[in-house]
């Protein structure tokens, strides 16, 4: 049954017009006294049946033409494909709602997300009208799998009934824009799984989004997925919720401690970055910061060019050790979510440095320890090489680890070190007489995949050339020589007798992650750096005890080097992990002394509160995975001891700063990137103009084409019936008219 709109019902009465005209004409005979009846009777006798038939056909054609005009004006809708022309085919509306925080862009009175919700509400109201069965699925991007957990639709193939609009209204009212940077691809994959095989229903996928450039500029994966929709006869409607592009937006993209010694009572610095996502430069941007909930001050950024970022610092000083909550925020702009950035800094009483030494006298470590005492707040601890295998405290408790004059580090020790460095820790290796090059190359270097920066051959003496005045050591600019005035002069006072050589076949340039900071006179590397995971590794291929060189006693350069090295290698010490909204938080704790149940609270109030039992990971250790990180801010994990004494561990969740990039694609740009995909593009504010078409295929154009054909047929038929006045009959026998004899 065709769903027809109003004009059809009254328009069909016009079909009777040709019949009425015919009947009226039958009553209105003109009267002619005719002489040539003979020929008229011949014609009537010959054509009577055919004339009646043609008149009937012509009458039907004219009635059909009027019916087609009415149908074309009525714009009837076919439920779906012509194969189901007579059947009551159902339509499944699948609405994907982009609720990433870029949709919170303020468009004036409404946000882009409000526009999207209004469009969905209108769609929900319109799908009630058709008589065919309608079902509705509503899925938010932040609930479509990926890193945001499993697929959780708000409506899943919900049958549409009279109360559906109200249910839709209630649901939309409860939905708020998320703080995620959810992308559409997981949603498409989730939809593909939800839909399964086509059971003959009509399917329309609506994507209501802001179509940001960072997701849609090179949409190969998205396009492939959409093409699969198209191949499966799923109609695609892309609905853009942002018509006006290019609103300015600033975002704080990072907030972290600057490299340096951090301890209670010591002033140190927090560093933040502000990105300008707008199309024009911004000036005098104030950034406000607070510590532990108290306003700390503000920093003014003079100018940020369009598309660029600016990095600034502010000084902090906490008298008390422990975790401190630091917030930086910008003034309100188009998108609020990225105007705030959170950080938790675990400030120790002192900075613990672990000095692991392979020799019982620990000569190398002692020289380093002596140097560390020059700075307040650093607490070195010298341990034997076995400590790495069975640490009394987790290695992560130390800001830096120095492993000196080691012979062999067992497998557990190597793994512990690698895990520590990969997580952001720092390690300094110092070779010595006990060091065995083959073991280092085998266990620690491992063809470049291990911690140690270079393969070692064996100890060698640096040949002394009395005629050569070149200093034994050359250096490059590096943070370990920070604030070291007259560095070249001081380092020229170093004399090296022995060092660990690298194999002759090895080339430092073969590993791009490698950097040689200090070299010997003969070109051999002396101090080498390698990045491993999130951490850093330095290797000094000589001793610090003064056995192979005179560096510890050659002047202040050694102390300066050691004091610079600690903050350099402990750059991430005390900084909490950067979690993005939606990412799970994993918490490790010991059981005992803590009970297995941990209570979490976060900025989301009840929504983010949960009590979770930790699962046993290793002996005496438990692991908890907390997933309710849907809001940016500070979170607390409350660990309880049997004595009811509690310990709080803080962590932060921040928004993905890239989502604040409001550059988006216009409809034409999107079309060029998605070509030749078939889809419909609309703006959310005008979405209601096409809603009726969602209920079926509009047959208006089809009827118009048939009408043209019927009119042509009618004209031809009327012409063939002789119903047109012809030109005057020619009479070739009229000789007079020709002016000559017959």
């Amino acid at each position: 049954m065709l769903p027809l709109v109003h004009p059809f019902y009254w328009g069909m009465w016009f079909m009777a017009a040709p019949l009425l005209i015919h009947l009226i004409n039958m009553l209105r005979h003109q009267h002619v006294e005719w002489a040539a009846m003979e020929f008229l009777l011949v014609s009537q006798k010959k054509h009577r049946t055919w004339v009646i038939l043609k008149q009937l056909l012509l009458l039907l054609l004219r009635m059909a033409a009027i019916a087609l005009v009415v149908l074309a004006l009525a714009q009837p809708l076919l439920p779906d494909r012509w194969g189901n022309f007579l059947g009551a085919q159902s339509t499944h509306h699948i609405v994907i709602l982009d609720d990433s925080f870029s949709m919170s862009e303020n468009l004036g009175t409404l946000t882009a997300f409000d526009q999207a919700k209004n469009a969905i509400q209108r769609l929900g109201e319109s799908v009630i009208r058709p008589r065919e069965p309608q079902t509705f699925t509503l899925l938010r991007l932040s609930r479509c799998g990926g890193r945001y957990g499993g697929t959780r639709p708000d409506f899943q193939k919900e049958p549409v009934d009279a109360e559906f609009a109200q249910r839709m209204s209630n649901t939309l009212e409860s939905i708020q824009v998320s703080q995620t940077a959810a992308e559409p691809l997981p949603a498409f994959e989730a939809i593909q799984q939800l839909l399964g095989e086509n059971t003959g229903e009509r399917r329309i996928v609506y994507l209501l989004s802001d179509f940001r450039s960072r997701q849609w500029d090179k949409p190969d994966d998205l396009k492939n997925r959409l093409e699969q929709f198209d191949e499966n006869h799923i109609e695609i409607r892309l609905i853009d919720c942002v018509e006006e592009l290019g609103r300015p937006n600033l975002a704080i993209t990072s907030l972290e401690p600057e490299e340096g010694i951090r301890a209670a009572g010591v002033q140190w610095r927090m560093q933040f970055t502000v990105q300008n996502y707008g199309l024009s430069a911004v000036r005098n941007v104030p950034v406000y910061w607070s510590a532990d909930g108290k306003p700390g001050g503000s920093v003014i950024i003079d100018a940020i060019p369009p598309g660029r970022w600016a990095k600034k610092v502010f000084d902090v000083n906490f008298a008390v050790a422990g975790e401190h909550l630091i917030t930086a925020n910008l003034n309100a702009d188009a998108v609020d979510a990225d105007n705030k950035r959170y950080a938790v800094i675990d400030l120790p009483v002192t900075t613990p440095v672990l000095l692991v030494d392979g020799h019982r006298t620990a000569g190398n470590s002692k020289r380093i320890s002596d140097a560390l005492t020059a700075r307040k707040g650093i607490q070195p601890e010298i341990v034997s090489i076995d400590y790495l295998s069975v640490p009394k405290r987790p290695l992560s408790d130390f800001a830096m680890i120095c492993v000196s004059n080691f012979a062999k580090i067992d497998r557990m020790g190597v793994e512990a070190l690698e895990k520590h460095v990969a997580a952001g820790g720092g390690v300094l290796f110092v070779t010595g007489p006990l060091t065995r090059g083959d073991l280092v190359t085998q266990d620690l270097y491992r063809n470049g995949s291990g911690l140690f920066p270079v393969p070692l051959a064996g100890p060698e003496s640096l040949v002394v050339d009395p005629l050569d005045n070149t200093p034994d050591v050359q250096s490059e600019d590096h943070d370990v020589f920070h604030n070291m005035d007259h560095r070249v002069d001081y380092l020229s006072m170093i004399f090296v007798k022995e060092y660990f050589a690298t194999p002759a076949a090895w080339n430092a340039k073969s590993d791009p992650s490698l950097r040689v900071i200090m070299r010997l006179r003969n070109g051999a590397p002396l101090l080498v750096e390698k990045n491993f995971g999130h951490g850093r590794v330095l290797a000094l291929l000589s001793t610090t005890s003064g056995t192979w060189n005179n560096w510890p006693s050659s002047g202040p350069s050694f102390v300066a080097f050691v004091l610079n090295m600690v903050p350099y290698l402990s750059h991430r010490f005390g900084a909490s992990d950067t979690l993005l909204v939606g990412e799970p938080k994993t918490l490790n704790f010991s059981d005992p002394p803590f009970e297995q149940a941990v209570h979490f609270t976060g900025p989301g109030g009840d929504a983010s509160a949960a009590t979770i039992n930790g699962e046993v990971s290793t002996k005496g250790r438990r692991t908890i995975t907390y997933t309710k990180t849907e809001t940016a801010g500070f979170y607390k994990a409350l660990l309880t001891q049997p004595s009811h004494k509690t310990e709080t561990r803080n962590f932060v969740v921040n928004v993905d700063p890239g989502e604040g990039d409001l550059r988006a694609l216009a409809g034409s740009d999107l079309a060029s990137r998605l070509a030749p995909l078939k889809y419909e593009f609309e703006y959310a504010s005008k979405f209601n103009t096409k809603l009726d078409e969602t209920q079926g295929r509009n047959l208006g154009d089809l009827f118009l084409q048939i009408l043209v054909m019927v009119l042509i047929l009618e004209q031809w038929f009327a012409w063939s019936c002789g119903y047109h006045v012809a030109t005057r009959m020619t009479d070739p026998w009229n000789v007079i008219a020709k002016g000559g004899p017959a």
């Binding site: 009537q44 004339v51 017959a742």
Partner: protein, 302 residues
């Protein structure tokens, strides 16, 4: 020529009430439009020489030419006898049809009178027969100028009747006018074709030159009617209710077949046939007549 013809159009002629005046107007207008008449002259007018053959009248030998060339030639003249023309005018009911300036009867009567006037003007003898289902009136052959009035009276028929078969009419005419002459039939010929052709054949067998002016109205030739129409026969009792456009093609086809049949029948019987529309200028009949006469001259001489 064109200006004079403007006044010979049925619309103009219709304004002249009296038939004699119409005829005069038509003929004078026709002649005035011609610079020179090549068709007739005095009967003593010389035309050409021809070598004498056996049977020629010796009185026509040109002796002066014989004296110069010692050969016999006879002189030929344009005309040397009076024409006896009889106008056979159809006054039946079907001739009353016409939606233009003149109906077929008025048109036919006008051209009949015009021909009579023309013939009397050149001192030929003219007779007239009006007929419908039978001969209504016979006007004998006369060459007097005032004879036109008698012909006009014969054409003024008050109550036309149906026409049946033309053969009895033409047979009666042939018997009434036994001497060879010219028979000019003015009719719409809506009668059985067999009778028509038999009658024409009879006239030709009696030595008459026969000329047929077939009068038809524009409507009868074009059938331009639209809309539901009730056709009632003028001579037949039949009534046809129809949409004329639906029957037009068949009608026109039947009409063409009929016209073709008439034309072939006339040609077969050596009868000059002229189809005239009642919307045509009235001098068309005179022109056809004179053309026909010239043709007869040539036929007679050769």
């Amino acid at each position: 020529m064109r200006d004079s013809k403007r006044f010979l159009h049925p619309d103009a002629i219709k304004r002249i009430t009296r038939l004699e005046m119409r005829a005069r107007h038509v003929v004078e207008g026709f002649l005035a439009g011609m610079h020179r008449s090549p068709y007739f002259g005095q009967s003593i007018e010389f035309r050409q020489h021809r070598e004498y053959t056996f049977g020629d009248d010796p009185r026509h030998i040109d002796w002066k030419l014989w004296a110069k060339q010692d050969r016999y030639y006879v002189k030929q003249f344009e005309e040397d006898t009076n024409l006896r023309a009889t106008l056979l005018v159809d006054v039946s009911g079907s001739m009353r049809y016409g939606r233009g300036a003149m109906n077929k009867f008025e048109y036919g009567a006008t051209i009949a009178c015009s021909l009579a006037y023309l013939l009397l003007r050149q001192q030929d003898s003219v007779g007239c027969v009006s007929f419908d289902e039978k001969v209504r009136m016979i006007v004998p052959l006369r060459a007097k100028r005032n004879h036109l009035e008698s012909i006009v009276q014969a054409l003024e028929v008050s109550s036309p009747r149906d026409k049946t078969d033309l053969y009895p009419i033409l047979r009666e005419v042939a018997e009434t006018f036994p001497r060879r002459g010219m028979m000019i039939l003015v009719s719409d010929l809506f009668s059985p074709r067999d009778g028509l052709f038999r009658g024409l054949k009879l006239l030709r067998s009696r030595g008459h030159d026969v000329m047929v002016f077939h009068l038809l109205d524009d409507d009868e030739l074009d059938f331009p009617f639209t809309g539901p129409t009730r056709f009632e026969g003028l001579e037949m009792p039949d009534i046809v209710r129809c949409n004329p456009r639906a029957l037009r093609e068949g009608y026109l086809k039947a009409m063409q077949t009929y016209l073709e049949e008439v034309r072939r029948g006339c040609t077969r019987n050596n009868v000059d046939y002229v189809l005239l529309r009642t919307s045509q200028p009235l001098d068309a009949a005179l022109a056809a007549f004179l053309s026909n006469r010239l043709g007869m001259h040539h036929r007679n001489r050769t």
